[in-house]
Amino acid sequence: MAHVGLTSVAIEVEVDVAEQGFPGFNIVGLAGKAVEEARERVKTAVNNSGLDFPGKKITVNLAPADLPKDGGAYDLPIAIGILTASGQVPHADGLFYGELSLDGSLRATKGVLLVGLFAKGGSIFVPIESANEAAVVEDVTVYPVRNLQELVDHLNNVKEIKRLSHLEIKELVDEAAVDFDLAEVAGQEQAKRALLIAAAGGHNLLMSGPPGAGKTMLARAMPGILPPLSPAEALEVTRIYSVVGLLDPGESLLRRRPFRSPHHGISAAGIIGGGTNPLPGEVSLAHLGVLFLDEMAEFPRPVLESLRQPMEDGVVNIVRVAGHVSYPASFTLLAAVNPCPCGYLGHPRRECKCSEKMIRKYRGRISGPILDRIDLHVRVPAVETEKLSTQPSTLNAQGSKYLREQVINARKIQTERFTEEKIYTNSQMRNKQVKKYCKLDPETERLLRLAVEKHDLSARSYFRLIKVARTIADLEDSSDIAVAHMAEALQYRQQI
């Protein structure tokens, strides 16, 4: 089983144990270094499992021959192939997948979920530590294998391996752990409101403000108000994590909405995905979750510009010599910036020391096209002294728990709205869908037209404004987009 991006290709492992010829062990079929080394692992594992490794000329062919293969997952099928060819186990049907350790036990191997999805209707033999990943797939028989000896006994009908029972995804999704309550952030009501809208509709949000105002804290509180993953979403995200091997051993599913915050030293390949055999980058790991870019202006320009395509399409297409791969990357961008290099531009009490040229240069680091794709722009001003206190906050209305309920309600409305579409949130709507689901009354339409003309907004901004207004209306459980909703959406436009 080879994975090309998120799609799987079945690899047939043919084994020939020849009676004639100099004893040896050869693997052919564009095997990578890790597969080449399977020779030593398989040989030792077979010997250490109390089985007989035939001292004959062994040729292993991995078909199709033109697809490059890498990783340790071919160990188990090769071992079983050799044992079958030498008559130590009978021929068995099913998919074998897993990396062997020298003592014959199986190691956690990445990509087991994809194997399960591929093998629908059949049976698979996978390492016990990764088997839970496949247990959430319906209509597939999963045999969790602890070691080679156990599998040989199973195939010889000596001692059966108990198949894994199917797990319901619903029961696995966790409640969000709140490491930071929004109530802990002093003041910043406008930013909190924007955060709420961003979480409810999956809109992109840019916070700008002086150092220490609480931008990073607000962002850290974001996971606490994100809604739980729906079963379909959980499966979609887990596929990506399974390919990279980022799921914890024994874990079956990603239980929480992803929240990724890469450091600004990241490379373009790191954020978009890359490598000879392209692996998903941060944008894909943040799929259906949040990508937080702290100090956005410090990110290298190519990195920021590479975000354009995924922000618009929700997918990234990576092209390398080895092939063409596309990964889903429908994420909510959450960004924080300072208004100028020193950080105090527009501060009520501290003086900004930057020259106009410096400010212009700093602002130029984030290009117009990127800013145009951000729906919510919000200022996070310095906190007034009277709002700071060591007393516990009394404003429970602003607590994460309460906000999260609002978000969940708004998402419920969206899920019902998009039952026929392949999207989950308002922000994912295409223009066609905007026209279908967001009817504006003449009054609201007029307000929007006025704003577009006055600020010379782009066509993209036009549609994005409607989407934000839709979310604000959803938060108030209103089926129509009223003037007030549009007016609020306009408030969060880019300040020029």
Partner: protein, 123 residues
């Protein structure tokens, strides 16, 4: 210890020679050596010059003799064969004979592999 190994090797070479003679190969030279290395046996098989490397093991506790015939050793034998031929173009091949001895230095198995090449899967 070293002497023991040498002795085992000599016995193995003798066993291999008898085995090959029985197979109608004719002996050309034994232990052809230069300062770069040695060829255990050089035989003739129906007009083909055969360079033979003999590997002997006493018991299988430390692995099979075949496993001791590595890519490096193969290359060495090949180079020695080229030295022996001195550029003459003669039909030739490289064979390997694996001998397993028991405690009393009596041969248990003798396997003769004809025309081993670099494509074989040795280590």
């Amino acid at each position: 210890m070293k002497f023991e190994n040498r002795k085992t090797g000599l016995i193995g070479e003798e066993v291999a020679l008898q085995h090959l003679l029985k197979k109608d190969l004719q002996l050309v030279s034994r232990n052809f050596s230069t300062r770069f290395g040695e060829i255990d046996l050089i035989m003739r098989d129906k007009g083909v010059l055969v360079f033979v490397e003999v590997k002997t093991k006493k018991g299988l506790d430390f692995g099979r003799p075949e496993e001791m015939f590595t890519r490096n050793k193969y290359q060495k034998v090949k180079n020695m064969a080229l030295v022996y031929l001195k550029g003459r173009e003669v039909k030739s091949r490289i064979d390997m004979v694996a001998v397993v001895l028991d405690e009393l230095n009596e041969p248990v198995t003798v396997s003769h592999y004809e025309n081993v090449t670099g494509m074989d899967g040795f280590q």
